[in-house]
């Protein structure tokens, strides 16, 4: 009766948020991220102790910090993964704007922590590396622009996004941070590639990147030394690469045992850039392969899910995010096995670093949001096939 007078309670046409999230999220990827983060903490227990000792802190100081930042990162990731693609786009564009301003301010108020490159803002208890946060934002902006450019009578999104890429690269090269710059160029290239780049242009861009690399090699001491270290056929056992290679060999298939590894005492970057060497030494090839498989799973699975995606923006942004995530991991591990020249690149979720882990959380959150299962109108394909 009440219903007849006052009308019925409004029926929820959508599912509740959490069940829908759980139903549509890519659970494999989500699980992989959690496992990777767990492995990162486990390795941090071994790898960051020497650093803490050197800095006169309690042994697990850095593990605690990493756990703290990691939890923030995971919360951020899950929160972002609940967003719809348009929300992700807004967040990404805003984030990019903020990160870009921060990047531009670096030369004035940044700090180099005595490492020869001004990459950080120091806030005392923590420091922030804007370039880490710039990457997901840049991917979103580029994907948005390129997707938009595919409409009829659309703005020249490709040129605009390329101009943005060049500006970002210029600022990164100024620091200098050629690794991140290369990553930005790579992200733009991937999005453009998926967004329908002509094959000839892909070739030209590839050539340009090589040429720029050559110029930097000639002009930058910092850069040339690292490349030389890679090109020299026999690795000097006293370099970071030498220690890393030795650690992998020492580790063998099952590792030398938890806490028994030596490489962490010799490598200054054992907790960040060379954490895979610590993993290989203490836990052996097994754990390394597991880590590799997890990264491979995340990247390949996300890409395969995006194959079915019909919205150009979602497709491009997802592909870009998956690729920068995957390529970071690839470069990091490629360096350790000397397939690639030494380049400071963190292993997402595993390496120590607040900025790195939170930025990885944002990247993965966006990727998860974009790769969620949603109605895609595949039925129209079936109709069209008849035509």
């Amino acid at each position: 009766m009440t219903d007849m007078v006052y009308g019925s309670n409004p029926v929820r046409v959508t599912e509740p948020v959490l069940p829908r999230w759980w139903r549509t999220i890519d659970k494999w990827t989500l699980t992989s991220v959690f496992v990777l983060f767990g492995i990162g903490l486990l390795l941090g227990l071994a790898a960051s102790v020497p650093l803490a000792t050197r800095n006169g802190l309690e042994p697990f100081y850095y593990v605690q910090r990493q756990a703290f930042f990691g939890l923030i990162a995971l919360v951020v990731m899950i929160a972002i993964s609940m967003m719809s693609p348009p929300m992700v786009r807004r967040l990404g564009v805003l984030g990019f704007a903020v990160a870009m301003v921060a990047l531009m301010l670096l030369p004035f108020i940044g700090t180099d922590f005595g490492k020869g490159a001004v990459r950080w803002f120091s806030f005392g208890f923590a420091s922030v590396q804007p370039s880490e946060f710039l990457k997901p934002g840049f991917v979103i902006v580029t994907a948005w622009l390129i997707a938009a450019s595919q409409e009829i009578n659309s703005p020249p999104g490709k040129s605009i996004s390329f101009a943005i890429a060049l500006i970002v690269v210029a600022f990164l090269a100024m620091q200098p941070d050629f690794g991140q710059a290369a990553l930005i160029v790579f992200a733009w290239g991937v999005i453009y590639f998926v967004g329908g780049a002509p094959m000839t242009l892909i070739g030209v861009v590839g050539g340009l990147v090589t040429a720029f690399g050559f110029v930097f090699y000639e002009s930058s001491e910092h850069f040339a030394r690292r490349i030389d270290g890679f090109l020299s056929p026999d690795v000097d056992p006293r370099t970071q690469l030498g220690y890393a290679a030795n650690a992998i060999q020492e580790g063998g298939f099952f590792g030398v045992g938890v806490g028994e590894g030596q490489v962490k005492w010799s490598l200054p970057d054992a907790h960040t850039d060379f954490i895979i060497a610590v993993a290989a030494e203490e836990y052996g090839l097994i754990l390394v392969l597991i880590i590799l498989a997890l990264y491979g799973l995340i990247v390949v699975r996300s890409l395969m899910r995006l194959v079915k995606e019909r919205d150009p923006f979602t497709r491009l942004a997802g592909a870009g995010l998956a690729c920068i995530f995957g390529v970071q991991a690839m470069i990091n591990m490629g360096v350790a096995v000397r397939l690639l020249p030494a380049k400071g690149m963190t292993l997402p979720f595993v390496s120590y670093g607040g900025s790195s882990v939170i930025a990885a959380g944002i990247t993965m959150g966006m990727l998860l949001a974009l790769s969620r299962a949603r109605p895609r109108g595949e039925i129209s394909d079936i109709f069209k096939r008849g035509r």
Binding site: I248, G251, G259, S266, V300, G326
Partner: protein, 596 residues
């Protein structure tokens, strides 16, 4: 065939029907857009697959590579042959005759694995007995706080190692260590510098140079390809030892704060001996001074001969005279104005102790008597520009190129502006500071007939061809004047029978840190070449704040301090280096008489 966006026939028809023709355009646009999206989606699908495959391939490659690496044995054998991997990594250093200056010995480091330790408390106590500087409590805490690895001691003596063995705990382990050993102790300490451990592992530790030639030539010494080839220095161990002994005695006798000596071959630039006092033992390098206000010279690590940049005083006078001779402005017997004191603007140039050698003095006597005023007048003839150019050609404007890590940091202090008053003061060695090694190189040029040599600590095969800075005639005349300084001038105590010492004294007031000069603190220098008739070696002796108290009043001039020390050095080392004394004809007669 693409449908036109506004097909005329349909538009016209629609208009006739009274419909809005724009809907047709919009519909066509939509269809075209859809077709485009489908096409781009098909392409993207393919490209995403390519990307996925690429990543898969890349990760597989890395995995395979990891597998390969993990399957190979580490380059350094782990336990099979301990010590095998650390054979003679760092090259030995030997003197010019092949005698060892620095070599390696194998020793052991002690580390602990508390996880397998049977009795941490007992072990800690016993270790504290063996190493009195360690506390049993500390050790016990570190053994029991759950870690599985810790260094106990970096280097063990064989006796200590035996006693640790006797504890017999499985948690105490030894790692072989190659250790740098300087068998001669403090000898040539400043040349050798020292080493320390770099990266350390259980199985070996790298030895890296921390100072001196060990650091300057670290790459060469560590080069595995040249590990078995010793680095041959130009030093002569016997000469070095003699000089250090004599210099130490001289320094103690004259109550000097420090001293330095350099003996160099005038033709090759090889440094036969280089010493700085006080010295240290490179086997047990003292820590550098931490106090920022402390004078660097207070540390025994300070190499006065190379790093000590002093005003070298009257030893500079010979350069002004040599240049004037070279330019033809004066001849050795030319008389120059030496009327003291000389007034120049508001400055007053005085002689030592207010003497007056004037009114006129021959150029030779200007040097022999060390006349400031005479030199000043000669310098004024030369002029600031030519003076600067000449001193530059003698190497006084650059750090010395010697193979010591400290050398590049010891740049001479040169006046920023060069008005004529600076020309005057520089001519007698004030206002400009250089190291004793600079002086040695410049005196070598005078000694060898006018050619600059590059001072080196490495053995050379033959004379080097450097830049000619003065004619042979000028150099010869300069040496004759220097000889006069010893025979009848300020360095009369420098005469060594048979070795014709020629040289120039220099006494310079020490500059105060706050500016100005100390009244009673001097740096005394004697720069000499010998034998005068055919100079072979240059010897520089510098004493820091010496006082000769043998007379009725304290004497601080170089003639009483540095000169006798240098003479004693020459008297003792010249025979060692194979220089024949030029005996007086009488002596020959005596020999003949005796044989008869």
């Amino acid at each position: 065939m693409r449908t036109p966006l506004r097909p005329l026939a349909r538009i016209l028809h629609a208009r006739q029907q009274g419909e809005n023709p724009d809907t047709i355009e919009r519909e066509n646009l939509r269809l075209r857009h859809e077709a485009m999206r489908d096409k781009s989606r098909a392409r993207a699908e393919f490209r995403l697959l390519v990307l996925g495959l690429a990543f898969f391939a890349a990760f597989t490659t890395i995995g395979a590579r990891m597998g390969l690496l993990a399957a190979t044995e580490p380059v350094e054998p782990r336990a099979s042959a301990p010590g095998a991997e650390i054979i003679a990594q760092r090259a030995d250093i030997v003197d010019r005759n092949g005698r060892i200056l620095a070599t390696n010995i194998t020793t052991h480091a002690l580390y602990a694995n508390p996880k397998v330790m049977v009795d941490p408390k007992g072990v800690a106590q016993k270790l504290a007995e063996i190493f009195p500087d360690m506390k049993a409590k500390d050790l016990e805490r570190r053994f029991t706080d759950g870690r599985s690895f810790l260094w106990v001691r970096k280097v063990l003596s064989p006796e200590q190692m035996q006693r640790v063995h006797e504890i017999g705990d499985p948690g105490l382990l030894f790692g072989p260590r190659e250790m740098r050993l300087y068998p001669n102790g403090t000898l040539a300490a400043h040349v050798l510098g020292g080493t320390s451990f770099g990266a350390e592992g259980v199985h070996s530790a790298e030895v890296i140079g921390t100072a001196g030639i060990e650091k300057a030539l670290d790459a060469r010494l560590r080069d595995p390809a040249q590990g078995d080839k010793p680095l041959t220095l130009s030093l002569d161990l016997s000469v070095q030892a003699t000089i250090e002994e004599v210099l130490y005695a001289g320094m103690t006798m004259l109550n000097a704060k420090g001293a330095a000596a350099i003996l160099m071959d005038v033709r090759t630039g090889e440094i036969v001996a280089l010493t700085s006092l006080p010295t240290f033992d490179p086997n047990d390098r003292p820590n550098p001074l931490v106090d920022k206000n402390a004078e660097p010279g207070d540390s025994p690590l300070f190499n006065r001969a190379v790093q000590g940049v002093y005003e070298l005083g009257s030893t500079f006078k010979i350069f002004a005279v040599a240049q004037a001779l070279e330019l033809g402005l004066v001849a050795p017997e030319t008389l120059v104005d030496a009327n003291a004191p000389m007034q120049w603007g508001k400055h007053r140039i005085k002689e030592f102790e207010g003497k007056n050698y004037g009114p006129l003095l021959s150029v030779t006597d200007v040097i022999a008597k060390s006349s400031n005023v005479g030199t000043a007048h000669i310098a004024l003839m030369i002029g600031p520009l030519r003076q600067q150019a000449f001193l530059k050609s003698l190497g006084f404007f650059e750090a010395t190129p010697v193979e010591l890590i400290e050398a590049p940091g010891a740049r001479p202090l040169i006046p920023r502006k060069w008005p004529e008053i600076v020309t005057i003061t520089t001519s007698y060695g004030h206002g400009m500071s250089a190291s004793p090694l600079h002086l040695a190189a410049a005196y070598a040029a005078i000694g060898n007939g006018g050619v600059m040599v590059k001072p080196t600590l490495l053995k050379r095969e033959g004379p080097t061809t450097g830049v000619r800075v003065m004619s042979e005639k000028t150099a010869h005349e300069a040496v004759i004047m220097l000889r006069r300084v010893v025979t009848e001038g300020t360095a009369s105590l420098g005469e060594v029978p048979g070795y014709e010492v020629a040289g120039k004294t220099g006494t310079a007031d020490k500059p105060m840190r706050t500016g100005g000069y100390y009244k009673d603190k001097v740096v005394n220098t004697f720069a000499s070449v010998f034998p005068a008739s055919n100079p072979q070696y240059v010897l520089i002796v510098t004493l820091d704040e010496p006082i000769d108290t043998s007379g009725s009043e304290p004497r601080r001039t170089a003639g009483w301090t540095a000169v006798p020390v240098a003479a004693e050095i020459i008297r003792r080392v010249a025979p060692i280096m194979g220089l024949r004394p030029k005996l007086e004809p009488v002596a020959t007669d005596a020999v003949t008489a005796a044989s008869n």
